[in-house]
């Protein structure tokens, strides 16, 4: 699947690799969610 096929909302950030594919929708103003969504930071760090 092409990355552009995943784009629906604007703006969208697509992280095609490593699998699974991740997309982050929105202006990325919520930094914490962005980092969790892109697997840059594990979700269960802070309770």
């Amino acid at each position: 699947m092409r990355s552009c096929d995943l784009v629906l909302a604007i703006p969208t950030v697509v992280r095609p690799l490593p699998k699974p594919v991740r997309t982050i929708i929105g202006t990325l103003s919520d930094t914490a969610r962005m980092l969790v969504g892109s697997d840059l930071r594990p979700a269960e760090t802070t309770p």
Partner: protein, 590 residues
Amino acid sequence: MKTNTKTTGRRHTAKAARLPRCPTGIQGLDEITGGGLPRGRPTLVCGGAGCGKTLLAAEFLVRGAAQFDEPGVLMAFEETEKELEANVASLGFDLEGLVRRKKMVVDHVHIERSESTQSGGYDLEGIFVRLGHSIDSIGAKRVVLDTLEVLFANLPDEAVLRGELRRLFRWLKAKGVTAVITAERGPGSLTRHGLEEYVSDCVIVLDHRVSDQVATRHLRVVKYRGAMHGTNEFPFLIGADGISVLPITSLSLNHQVSRERIATGIPRLDKMLGGRGFFRGSSILLTGTAGTGKTIISCNFGHAAARRGERVLYFSFEESPNQIIRNMHSIGLRLEPMVKRGLLRFHSARPSLYGLEMHLATMFKEIAEFRPQVVIVDPITSLMDLGTVSEGKGMVTRLIDYLKATQVTTLFTSLTQGGHPLQQSEGGMSSLMDSWLLLEDFEGNGERNRVFYVLKARGMGHSNQIREFLISDHGIDIVDAYIGASGVLTGSARAAQGALEKAAALAGQQEAAQLKREVERKRGALERQISGLRSDYESEALELRRIAEQVGTRTLLLSTERAESGRLRQADIKLGSGMPIKSKAGRRLP
């Protein structure tokens, strides 16, 4: 006043004409909507799972591309291109070919909640761009969005989504494309997420209901802004060639009628119907209890038509074709050659095989394919048992209207369950029929006999008599039933009555002969008497003549004697007649 109404009338028609339609090409749907969906506007198609939303939308696109030269874009949120291709290919649509020829674009939008995260505000410009690109790449006139509600499940922030959808529909209208948006039906509202708020030009609701274990799909146009449309619920089918909606009410009563008459294959029955049989294109009902010979009469009718070279389509819902052919063979009716020559076609199906609508659609299809002049439905009652009374009547009405419109003569047989057949006239079905023959069983004297009569025959003089009919090795034989003071006599009772009548006639003949002999004898006696009298008379007359002659002779003799003596005595000398005589007289003096 007059001009006023005229102008409003014109304005009304002008308004209707101003709203252009976009034909769907779906059989029946264009009829209901008066030509198709509103052109250049979005239409909402909603319904529960498995009622055919996606198929309706896909057919709208495919037919648009293939039949009306209007390319289309299918934006699918649920199914992939491959899945869609396979789905519509099963209904005979070549989606792949249309895509290859740039008549269609299928765009699968992959969206998965688990794979995405929201971070901050967003809009759906991505959809706009993709859709805009697809539309422009092939010059699409039609767009299908199937199913937008997936967005609600997979995208956060519903308020943003609603605003974006509102914008999307406005944008589609501005693009001038005719769009179909499918949506899942929600509890208590037309769609689960209230899409009808945004798409309000035309709303079609699909429904899939099960009654008596038979499922029927229904279609209803809930809303069609600014246009007349059929508001009823119409049954529809997904058949081998797509969707077909069967409008009940759109049929009208203005078909052509024929004066031509066609023979029934039973000469005596023709005679009962004014000597020439049924009208071509009429509908005939044949009611009777089990074993009264309905199928036999139907087959005779079909056989006669096939022998005239007409095509006959026989819908059998109880017997298989081979069974009918074999059974008819036993009464000397050979149907096999007719089948071989392609004049007679059987269509056998168990009534419970599928629902009423599917049966009707199959029948329509068969009729359209075979183009018969005569259609026989044997028996119609097993079909009518599938639905409610009104559904059954609606079906028969549609069938009759369809057949009458094409001048097809139809014979329906109807199985009655004992009792008086008139009292259960098949839910008013009989009022739809032009002619009605009634077959009955008469029980008595330890035997059952078949009788039949013509209950009604519109537009022709017909016999009011009850006739008995016999089924023998060489077909049907109609005989007069004996109708007397004691009622109708059939079978052996009729034969006994015949013998009685014969004996009575013989006795009468004998009596007459005896009377004749008596009269002869009397005449002889009279004649003898007359001749006796005559001879008496003759002898007396002879005697009379003899006496008269004697008397005559005697008188003559007397007179001559007297004259002689007179002459001797000169008695004739008249006094004073002459002197010489006087002198002569003096001679008498001594």
